[in-house]
Amino acid sequence: MTVREMADALNLESIAVSDGERTVSGGYAGDLLSWVMGRAQAGDAWVTIMSNPNTVAVASLADVSCIVLAEGVRPDKGVAETAMSRGVNILGSEEPSFALCVKIAALL
C-alpha cells in the first residue's frame, strides 16, 4: 500500500505530500520525539499529535513513509513547507490516534 492509497482509503487530508508513491510498510504511534527517534522503523506510518518542526526532522531521520497528524492537529508555522522540501509526507485526520492506528493496522 502506498501513502496515497492509504490517504484515499482513510480519507486523510494531504497536508504535505511530495512522495505519495512511497510504500507504507508498518505503523508507529508516539508523541515524545526522543522516544520515537530510536523506535519508529523505516516505512512506518507515524501517528502523532506533535506538530513542532522537529517532528519533520525526526520523520526524516527515522525514514518513516509519512506522518499522520491525529486529532485535527495543524502543523506549526512553516512545518508543511519544510516537510515538502525534505520529502517528508504529512497527512492529517480529525480522528484520535488510537482510532487511526486501528484503521491503519487493518489496511496493512
Binding site: L33, S34, N54, A57
Partner: protein
C-alpha cells in the same frame, strides 16, 4: 561584573505539586538562610504569588525575580523570567487566555494556594495549572519577549517535559540564548549528545517544590552590574544575561 548566587526556579504552594508550606515568606526566608542572593518564583502557568514574594524578599534582603514555568502546547517546560513584577503579571494575564481549563482535583494534584501580603492563604486557583497551554514554543517565546522577559528551556536534562526529551533535540527556532539544567553534573554528557546545546549560556536551578530543596548556597552567575546595584538593576542584568546580551 559581579557573581551572584541564584536560584531561578522555585515553586510556591500555588503550584499543585508545591508543598503547602512553600509560602512566599518561607521561600524568601529559606533562600536568605541558604545564602541565595537572587531568587525567582516560577509557578506553573501562573504568577499569582509573585506580588507577595516581592514583599517577602524585600523583607529578608533577597533580590526577587517574578517568573513562571510555562507548559507549552508541546508539553515543554519553559522558564519565563521578567525584569519587573508588572511585566510578569501582564504576561500571566496573556497566558491565562491560553490556558486549557480543567478543574483541579486537589486530592490528586494538590492544592493551588494564593497567598496574601501577610503570608496567609487568601484563595485557591480552581483550574489546574500544570497542564499544557495552547501556546506553542514559538508563540511562548514571542510572548515572553513582548513583556521584556527571558525564556529559558527548563531542566533540559529531565525526561519529563524537558525540551530535548520532548522534541528529540533543541529546536533551531525559537533561538534560546540560555538553557537550564537540573543537575550541573549532566552538562558535559548532554552537550556531547546534543551538539545544539553547546555554546548556550547555562544556569542550574533547584526546581524546588519543598523548602529544603531550595539551593544552598545557590548557583553562581556573573552579571554585568555592581554587587550593590539594587534589585531592579540586578534583574535587568540577569534578563540581559539570559537573552545573550
Amino acid at each position: 561584573m559581579s557573581a551572584f548566587r541564584c536560584d531561578l526556579h522555585i515553586h510556591s504552594c500555588l503550584s499543585p505539586c508545591g508543598e503547602d508550606d512553600m509560602t512566599p515568606f518561607s521561600i524568601a526566608g529559606m533562600a536568605k538562610l541558604n545564602g541565595v542572593e537572587v531568587a525567582a518564583l516560577t509557578d506553573h502557568n501562573a504568577c499569582g504569588n509573585c506580588g507577595t514574594f516581592f514583599h517577602a524578599c524585600e523583607t529578608y534582603g533577597v533580590v526577587p525575580v517574578a517568573g513562571m514555568e510555562l507548559t507549552t502546547s508541546e508539553d515543554v517546560h519553559l522558564l519565563c523570567l521578567f525584569p519587573l513584577l508588572e511585566d510578569a503579571l501582564a504576561f500571566a494575564k496573556a497566558v491565562d487566555r491560553n490556558r486549557v481549563r480543567i478543574r483541579n482535583r486537589a486530592e490528586i494534584f494538590g492544592r493551588q494556594l494564593l497567598i496574601g501580603p501577610d503570608d496567609e492563604a487568601t484563595g485557591e486557583e480552581k483550574d489546574l495549572l500544570i497542564n499544557a497551554t495552547t501556546l506553542s514554543l514559538e508563540d511562548a517565546a514571542a510572548l515572553v519577549k513582548e513583556y521584556h522577559g527571558a525564556a529559558v528551556p527548563a531542566h533540559v536534562d529531565r525526561e519529563g517535559n524537558g525540551i530535548v526529551a520532548v522534541l528529540g533535540d533543541l529546536p533551531e527556532t525559537p533561538a534560546f540564548a540560555a538553557v537550564e539544567y537540573r543537575d550541573g553534573a549532566n552538562i558535559v554528557r548532554y552537550e556531547k549528545q546534543y551538539p545544539r546545546l553547546r555554546g548556550k549560556r547555562k544556569i542550574v536551578s533547584s526546581d524546588a517544590h519543598r523548602l529544603w530543596e531550595i539551593a544552598e548556597p545557590g548557583y553562581e552567575i556573573e552579571l554585568n552590574c555592581k554587587k550593590d546595584a539594587g534589585a531592579e538593576t540586578v534583574r535587568k542584568a540577569l534578563i540581559d544575561y539570559l537573552n545573550g546580551v
